[in-house]
């Protein structure tokens, strides 16, 4: 019986490239999937594209493709990725050029149709209860989460590389299973639900192989420095084994799989996806060998027939600044610095929508614990979201000004001002979103 081997080459746009090269070289993979798109990434990519019509795809596309294409070509491994971001057509064209430069004959497909900016105006945003058109010229992007079908079509047309924009992350993995096994696609909800479980386990790369897991003394991970990326060995009936390359660091265990299964999940019985409403509530894992975990029990119900859409809009500016205080009275000096900075920012109060004054080391991430001993070093952090850039600049300037005008002993100032692209959500009927595939390198 055919075992399909799918590897993850990236779990986010900033992911490490070396482990993907290891998989391309030694993984004997049928597919290597690069998941590089987060909610905010695509809106930032849309801004890039506004500045340059040939831009808007993942900035490390070229680096990644050059690193893995020769080995993938040798091994017959096909690549699926959402590195197209806001410009899958240009990303596919560039990838075809890179393949040609490397002397490889490869067919590259772009999956199009997720960009729905032209028809999003009347849709009501979940967060505001108002139509998207209310955002006026602040609106920069609207991308629907496509399902597996565009990728399945590209694979059926013999694409070696499939480049998408916004596709639901698990669908990047569900598609090759549908294609390879000839499943009746969306009609078998149990199989597609189980495939979605596998995709969800795989989509964050090393998060299932011991990355983002180590907690020395309670959760130890061997050789984390050389953590390998995951491989799923999938059978026709949808059962799968999650594993990694021999000789790589990390750990695949029941515990690493359970943490990743529940990651970013709400109701486990109803995980809404474009392909299916997946049911993770009956999933179970068993360790069948060293770094080999079998997964079964995924199920599903028909998809809702509407697609989630991420809407990006310009939403002001965040200005921030940090400064450190150390030694006796460090916390008191940091507190005083925060108070006087707040006082100095009073003239900008009507331009500041939200502001936080935290002491890193005391209360910046978790609520403060009054019973805990005072730290020996702390870092004041002031951050504000402002409607105008001059207010955001004032925030970082006033923190820098603490050097000569604040409490004693402040050091190590760092400041930053950045534009905010806020992401909001709405839905479109699936029938209003047309997916199509454009091939490069297809014989005429």
């Amino acid at each position: 019986m055919k075992i399909l081997r799918i590897g993850t080459g990236a779990g986010f746009s900033g992911d490490r490239i070396g482990p993907a090269v290891d998989l391309a070289r030694s993984g004997k993979l049928d597919y290597l999937v690069f998941e590089c798109l987060a909610e905010r990434t695509i809106a930032l990519a849309q801004l890039d594209r506004l500045g340059d019509p040939a831009a808007g795809y993942d900035r490390r596309l070229e680096q990644r493709m050059r690193a893995v294409l020769p080995d993938c070509h040798r091994a017959g491994t096909r690549i699926i990725t959402n590195m197209g971001a806001a410009n899958p057509l240009e990303a596919a064209r560039r990838t075809a050029e890179i393949a040609a430069e490397l002397g490889l004959t490869l067919r590259v497909a772009a999956v199009l149709g997720d960009d729905v900016l032209d028809r999003i105006g009347p849709c009501v945003l979940e967060e505001t209860g108002r139509p998207a058109s209310d955002l006026g010229d602040r609106l920069v992007s609207a991308n629907a989460y496509l399902g597996a079908e565009g990728i399945v079509e590209a694979l059926a047309r013999d694409a070696d590389i499939v480049i998408c924009g916004r596709v639901a992350d698990p669908s990047l993995f569900v598609a090759p299973m549908i294609h390879a096994f000839g499943w009746p696609s969306i009609d078998d909800h149990r199989l597609i639900g189980q495939a979605t479980v596998i995709g969800h386990l795989m989509e964050c790369g090393a998060q299932v192989t011991g990355g983002y897991f180590a907690d020395p003394g309670v959760k130890d991970v061997p050789d984390l420095a050389t953590v390998g990326f995951p491989i799923a060995e999938v059978s026709q009936d949808g059962t799968a084994v999650i594993t990694k390359l021999p000789g790589t660091g990390g750990l695949v265990s029941r515990a690493t799989c359970i943490e990743q299964l529940l990651y970013e999940l709400h109701d486990p019985a109803r995980y809404f996806q474009p392909d299916v409403v997946a049911d993770f509530s009956g999933v179970d894992f068993s360790e069948i060998g060293p770094n080999r975990v079998a997964v079964s029990g995924g199920a599903g119900a028909p998809a809702t027939g509407r697609l989630k859409v991420s809407v990006g809009a310009r939403d002001g500016w965040i200005g921030q600044g940090e400064i450190s205080y150390a030694g006796p009275g460090a916390v008191a000096r940091a507190r005083l610095a925060g108070e006087i900075t707040t006082e100095r920012l009073a003239p900008f109060a009507n331009l500041i929508e939200d502001m936080r004054v935290d002491i890193i080391g005391l209360n910046a991430i978790l609520p403060a614990d009054p019973s805990a001993p005072e730290p020996r070093e702390v870092r004041l952090r002031v951050a504000a979201r402002c409607t105008e850039i001059e207010a955001a600049r004032a925030v970082s300037d006033e923190v820098e000004g603490l050097y000569l005008n604040g409490p004693a002993g402040g050091g190590g100032v760092a400041t930053m001002v950045r534009e905010v692209i806020g992401i909001r959500s709405t839905y479109l009927p699936k029938a209003d979103v047309e997916t199509h595939v454009h091939m490069f390198g297809e014989p005429a």
Binding site: E264, L265, A364
Partner: protein, 97 residues
């Protein structure tokens, strides 16, 4: 005893909602975790603005908490240092049993 000694977990984000999993290391500790780590206790950690739903996965000895409004602004608009709320699971693991 702190929950950290007998359980692990991971926090994820969607918009302004955080989800936090709590998983027993050993099946023997599961009944105690299921009984003591309640939605009410999670809500008490994060303050009055949040709403907490708890889902139980007994075959995994795991709980999944969905904490609405835990992430002010969401990752794209938040002014928090840890805008994703990645560290929030450790606020729960710090709980005394």
């Amino acid at each position: 005893m702190k929950l950290h000694e007998i359980a692990h977990g991971r926090a994820g984000d969607k918009g302004t909602t955080s989800n936090i999993s709590i998983i027993a290391y050993r099946p023997d500790d599961w009944p105690r975790i299921e009984a003591e780590v309640t939605a009410e206790r999670i809500a008490a950690i994060f303050g009055p603005d949040v709403q907490v739903a708890r889902y139980v996965l007994p075959q995994l000895f795991a709980l999944n908490f969905v904490v609405k409004n835990a992430l002010k602004g969401g990752v794209t608009r938040s002014v928090a240092l840890d805008a994703h709320g990645k560290g929030l699971v450790y606020a729960v693991l710090d709980m005394r049993l």
